[in-house]
């Protein structure tokens, strides 16, 4: 008779918004080990890109992910423009930055709601999503759609920002800033939330560096890595902003990092709106791009998004490679789940803000149980877990859970 209970979490599960599968090995309420299986969203986008023109690729890549759609297109189009040696107008760069930051605001507010839902706090979920509508409306006003903005085009942007729209943006940002400060207050004072978020899903600085974690996950473990500052693209080298880090190394730290990043994003948006230069929106772009290559890193709301584009002198790219941030953070998930409570699994998974559509564009994963030092065998990890359990005054062997 086996002492462990194997719980499938997914591919279809109320806690997960997209199909992916986690296999949890439970000892009582504790997770002894976990496996991640992905690939349910594999759509072969990289192959499909090779058979489309650059403009068509743009709309395909926009649909890699619903939430960071602007990130993927901007990264791709910046790479394509680098391939074509195009210098796009300054105003276009500012508008791309503006949409990118608004998207970050929308993504982080969405994340606050999802995280609240995962810990059973539906009221915060409803309110944060209600306030997210403010930024969604702004995005719809600027681009014509709430999610798939389609504002990028080869050589610039497709829509202009008028003066009255700028005023609307500033007004909305004022509302959002006030609301965000209120939510920071709620999250840091509400006792049930604190109880659920503090000391959950630990990821130390060393492990985060070693497992190549990125985005808010890494920054909440004290890894000072932000592409916007390290490898500036668009106009981020002109904009003053701070990179938020936190040494909490737990889910609460990730909440704090995202919340303060929201405030930084508001600052960036204000700066961009106020300093937007006049000028053209596009430069004339050729249909055929030369044989050249470019790698672009983009700080998406979830972390570094890498696009590699190689042209071959025709209308169609030779190769498009994209690596979404969730992909690089997956190694950390298993690490953070092990040894935690079953009840914390949803929030720990949610804390990396996973986007499995992005990740699965061409990949599926069966992660070997990652342990304290490199790769631990499953049995060692299990023994470790049982011992840990006993030391904390609870012997899993005495529970009869499975039959």
């Amino acid at each position: 008779m086996s002492k462990r209970v194997i719980i499938p979490l997914g591919p279809q599960h109320p806690a997960l918004k997209e199909p992916e599968s986690f296999t949890l090995y439970l000892e009582g309420e504790r997770v002894a080990a976990s496996n991640v299986t992905l690939g349910y969203n594999h759509r072969g986008i990289e192959k499909a890109c090779e058979e489309r023109s650059y403009i068509q690729c743009l709309y395909l890549l926009e649909r890699v992910c619903g939430i960071c759609s602007h990130s993927h297109t901007t990264a791709f189009i910046t790479a394509a423009e680098e391939v074509a040696q195009l210098e796009i107008p300054k105003r276009a760069k500012y508008i791309r930055t503006l949409i990118g930051e608004l998207e970050r605001v929308h993504s982080h507010l969405l994340w606050v709601g999802v995280a609240a839902h995962e810990i059973g706090f539906d009221t915060l979920f409803m309110y944060s999503w209600r306030d997210r509508e403010v930024v969604m409306d702004i995005l719809a006003m600027l681009t014509g759609n709430r999610v798939q903005y389609s504002i990028n085009t080869l050589g610039g942007v497709r829509r202009d920002v008028s003066d009255s729209q700028k005023e609307e943006i500033l007004k909305a940002i004022d509302i959002l800033e006030e609301r965000t400060k209120y939510y920071i207050d709620v999250v840091t004072t509400e006792t049930t939330m604190m109880g659920r978020l503090k000391n959950v899903g630990g990821l130390t600085h060393e492990i985060a560096t070693k497992l190549n974690a990125l985005g808010p996950l890494a920054r909440a473990s004290g890894v000072d890595r932000d592409i916007r500052r390290d490898d500036p693209y668009l106009v981020y080298d002109e904009i003053p902003f701070n990179v938020i880090t936190n040494d909490g190394c737990d889910v609460f730290g990730r909440v704090v990092v995202r919340a303060l990043e929201l405030i930084e994003s508001y600052r960036i948006i204000r700066y961009v709106v106020k300093n937007m230069p006049d000028g053209d929106l596009t430069v004339k772009a050729p249909r055929k791009l030369p044989a050249n290559e470019a790698t672009v890193r983009y700080e998406a709301p979830r972390g570094e998004d890498l696009h590699y584009v190689r042209g071959n002198g025709t209308e169609k790219p030779e190769r498009v490679k994209l690596r979404a941030p969730t992909m690089a953070n997956l190694a950390s998930i298993s690490y953070m789940l092990d040894g935690g409570y079953l009840a914390d699994v949803p929030i720990v998974i949610a804390a990396i803000d996973p986007c499995f559509s992005c990740t699965d564009r061409a990949i599926s994963i069966k992660q070997i149980d990652s342990g304290r030092e490199g790769t631990l065998e499953w049995n060692n990890l299990r023994t470790y877990s049982i011992e840990w359990y006993k030391n904390h005054g609870f012997d899993a062997h005495k529970i009869k859970l499975s039959r």
Partner: protein, 158 residues
């Protein structure tokens, strides 16, 4: 001298076989072509001395006679060094970089499935980016691979 040029000079001094192989594309972008047998030494040196501790991904490319693999590694200064290695299609074998970059396991499995290369030193595991029942010898990202229904027109019929 810019920091990119410094880095190139230093690396050329350490690895003489890399001279003339560096291209400084633009600020913070360097590419280098490395022989596939020496690549691990270069990575170890980059990781330990220059703190290139972040491997973003591994890009595979099918350039008709060769396979090309690009390892974009970066450090905290924001320099992205694209290390390129080549493997002929007749002998598609490369070495695993797992001992330097722990996160590379996914990327290397992807290469095995999508290009049909052999990655030496990669632990045995599940069939990787593709489903378990994917047929042998079908490598989707090779240029000569076409989906089964590729010849069926997807046009609006009239």
């Amino acid at each position: 001298m810019s920091k990119e040029e410094n880095l190139v000079a230093e690396l050329t001094q350490k690895f003489p076989f890399l001279s003339e192989k560096f291209v400084i594309v633009r600020a913070r972008r360097i590419t280098v072509e490395v022989d596939r047998d020496n690549v691990l030494d270069v990575f170890k040196y980059l990781y330990s001395v220059h703190k290139f501790d972040f491997l973003s991904t591994i890009t595979g490319l099918d350039s008709v006679e060769n396979f090309e693999f690009i390892y974009p590694v970066s450090n905290f200064e924001g320099i992205l060094l694209s290390v390129k290695i080549f493997a002929p299609k007749t002998d598609p074998v490369i070495k695993s970089v797992l001992e330097v970059y722990k996160g590379a396991i996914y990327y290397e499995r992807e290469l095995e499935d999508m290009f049909g290369v052999k990655v030496e030193g990669l632990p045995a595991g599940r069939h990787y980016p593709l489903p378990e029942d994917w047929p042998e010898g079908e490598y989707p990202l090779r240029k000569d691979w076409k989906p089964k229904n590729a010849d069926q027109p997807n046009k609006v019929e009239e």
